[in-house]
Amino acid sequence: MFRCIFFRKKLASYLEGELSEQERKRVENHLEGCERCRKELSSLKEIRTLLSKKPSPPPFPYSEGQFMASLRDRMRKEERVSLLARVPRFAAVASLVTIFFIIGFLWLTSPHPQPKVEGVGDFTQLTDITIPFEDVISLVDEDTLLTEIDNELADGEAELYQFYLEEISAVSGPQVVVALAGLSESDYEKLVNETADALAKDLFPKMEEGK
């Protein structure tokens, strides 16, 4: 019986001549000794024979000319819909490009400061602290700096301080800092100085006390 289940699954393919030579022989060998499977094959063959005559569809309900005209009409409608569907996307892209042009034009024609960052490591420039240290450090690569501070604090405080000030310029860049903070050149210099001062107080309280 188990063997019958295995072979019955192959009977349809056997009828269609879609089995390999080896499989076909195995099925035929089984059929010779199994009446139930022969009956199954016989009924499937009857179904297959009844199906063999194609059902003939009624004639196509439209003439070729009607069909082609209707198809052309339909395709043109689809193309219009497709074009209309593109309009919002096109409008969005056009708006973005226009906005970029306006911003670019305003940026190019307006005077903007090019701060010169000098002497940021000069301790003599340290002045009053008005900006919290956390706000300033958030403008730069905080993780890198804090890791460096943790690692290097014991080694050389002065070198670390210099490193930090250079990082402000290197990572954020003077223009970026100005753009982000919306600062003028003088305000930027003030920011750098205040940053240095804040850092100095934060990292080197003893140095500040002794100043």
Binding site: K9, L11, A12, S13, L15, E16, E18, S43, L44, I47, R48, L50, L51, S52, K53, K54, P55, S56, P57, P58, F60, P61, Y62, E64, F67, M68, S70, L71, R74, M75, E78
Partner: protein, 174 residues
């Protein structure tokens, strides 16, 4: 004209090449759809859908596989969408309005059996019905059926096998 040239022309937007392809495949696609959906007006409307889709998707057609299989796949998918839209379910009795697949042959017992069988084909689950139609009436081998249905040849073979077995069961019940 060579079919490959027509396909290349249609892909490049040549409407006359496209229309020649439509003329060549209009009847075969209509016949296939009629055998699948069993309604000649619906089959005709779906035929138009198939060629609209063909026009839209021609740019995606790659060299591998045959154009016929690709087009038949579009047709089979349209038929599937039609089945879903109609919310036909397997083994649900057909609406009395649905015409039989073939002209009635009332005079003979064989004619009655055949009529019953064709009506039973309409009740087969979707994939079994498609496999049966492609194999028996479109003369495709299982590899081609697999290409059209987006399945493996083994799945196509199994669907066909169960289609025959289920037809036998339906006929026995009558």
């Amino acid at each position: 004209m060579d079919e490959k040239k027509l396909i290349a022309g249609a892909k490049n937007g040549d409407e006359s090449a496209f229309e020649e392809l439509v003329r060549r495949y209009r009847k075969p696609i209509y016949h296939l759809l009629y055998r699948l959906v069993a309604d000649y007006m619906e089959a005709a409307d779906l035929t138009q859908e198939v060629f609209v889709k063909m026009w839209q998707k021609l740019s995606n057609l790659r060299g591998e596989g045959s154009f016929k299989s690709w087009l038949y796949r579009i047709a089979v998918n349209e038929a599937k969408n039609h089945f879903r839209a109609k919310k036909r379910r397997k083994w649900v009795p057909l609406s009395p309005k649905l015409p039989a697949l073939d002209n009635p042959e009332k005079s003979t017992l064989a004619g009655e059996r055949k009529k019953a069988l064709l009506s039973a084909v309409e009740r087969l689950p979707e994939k079994q019905r498609i496999s049966l139609v492609l194999r028996v009436w479109e003369g495709m081998d299982f590899a081609e059926i697999a290409e059209v249905m987006g399945s493996s040849a083994a799945t196509a073979r199994a669907n066909y096998h169960f289609a025959l077995v289920n037809l036998k069961k339906i006929i026995k019940k009558r």
